[in-house]
Amino acid sequence: MRLLSVLLKAWAFILRDLAIEMSYRSAFVLQFMGVFVSVGIWFFLSDMFHGMAPAMKGVEGGEYFPFILVGVAFYHYLTVALTAFASRVRNEQLTGTLEAMLVSPTRTPTLILASSLWDFVFTSFRVVVYLAVGVAVAWLAGRPIAIHASGVFPSVVVLGLTILSFCGIGIIVASSVIYFKRGESINSFVTSASALIGGVFYPTQALPAWLQSFSSFLPITYALRGIRRALLSGASLSDLIPELQVLSLFALVLVPLGLVVFRWSLKLARRDGTLVQY
């Protein structure tokens, strides 16, 4: 019964954000236009490397375009997991609606988690469009991408664990926004570091050895490796056990840690009277 109540609330948040999003129609359309532009950029860039990829160590599937397409598509997803909570809290603080939400009988963690759901829904949709446009462009160019259907389920499992890990960090950043009213700098640092050394645009093997060792501390490294192996090389769940183990460990540590820090930040904000300040 309680789960149903939480799900209904989550649905109310999605409807709210959909209605707000649809009220900015041109921005809504332009976001999808941006997907075409982005895919075009990566396609023409990868054209330069066409035929060179087998020599590029660590490029899953041997072609750069599928490698970058999957990397960038899921990087957006992971960025959302990292930033959604904090940006939603900040947004509610700035628009003045946080107080009205917090005086409701709904538990604060439910409010924060549910308020970011739309970002996940919208990004999932964008990722699907991104991949579909990428596959279509590659097919039209006569270089079809081989997406392994058998890799879809393992990649979803990898993605789920990765989202959990990133949510842990995201909740910590949201806690920082609740107490310090700022968290963008942490977000910016983690997303930039993930892009730099997490294997989004190039394989981690392209990095100097000392930077490669740093990349092993980021969940995105294992996430992108696992998703690419599943989708581009058809790796099964059992093939992905090393990535799944590390991601599970990240999730097991980061999610409880995030919840503890969140609880603590709420307590401090209530004590200092800054809960609804911005």
Partner: protein
Amino acid sequence: MANATPPAIEIENLGKVFRKRRSIGQTILHPFEAAGEVRALDGVSFSVRSGEIFGLLGPNGAGKTTLLKILSCLVSPTSGFARVQGHDTAFDEHRVKSAIGLVTSDERSFYWRLTGRENLHFFASIYNVPRDRIRPRCQELLQKMEMAPRADQPFMEYSTGTKQRLAIARALLHDPPVIFMDEPTRSLDPTAAKHLREFVVGTLNRKEGKTVLLATHNLPEAEALCSRLVILHLAKVRRFGTMEEVRSWETSRERYAIEIAGLSATRILEGGDRALSFAGCALEVRAAGPGSPADRVVVDARVDAGGAALTELLRRLLAAGGTIVSCSRREASLQEVFDLVAGEGGEP
């Protein structure tokens, strides 16, 4: 016989101390120095009976907002306790929030691009209105607040009065027994404010039996609506009780209205040796009522109780050449009590 109904709101020895934030420079230069403190509430105790409209008054910075935030579980108290419908705000947040509705005058507390109805539907979900009741409940409240025709317009197109009505509708979504109102008529025009006051008294209080805690600076509004009130100043309770009890709180002083002929306000109030006031007697002068002769003024005198000070004042007025047309004892107005409290410092 004691009233058996438990109070809707119970506040006992409530205290709240905020620590001042230190700048980075202060932290570096004086790392071991304790941060300063601001006492927002100090030993505040009072209770609000079930079904009454209770006023929460006080000058800016008195502690009203902090008190409302503690009662809404948005701020935790440093000492003492606050209970709403018997539930402790520090330990039973869910039950407290289920029992309260908060009406603020902050227009920003809605989603401006959504319609009034969409806003209400969303808040009904998080205010735990059962799913099958959300639509009829919102419609019922939109009709009750006389805004059904405009329910499907975006919130940003509403007038201030309509926005305020929607804020009340939101506070009533889950049918809470206790309503907190923070300056609800602050931005309303006189007609809208009058309608709102009528709604609070007629519908919320008398018809639906809701307890209303009204924080306001509008003293005529408090006088018109509240059966009892508390005045806070400098974090403490300075006056508490019915309007009559608050007005007659000051037992060591008495107030008189003395109508005088033949003396000007300047003559009565001017400073130096010729002033008619003296220790134990404070005077204000106003024009006599309409239709009175031009040489008439009314002296509002606040004098030590017991008669001696009044006798001395009357003697001085007569000696100065005045004629006493009338002299009557009167109660202090709420404005006078408020001004008196606002001028007080330190201990009550």
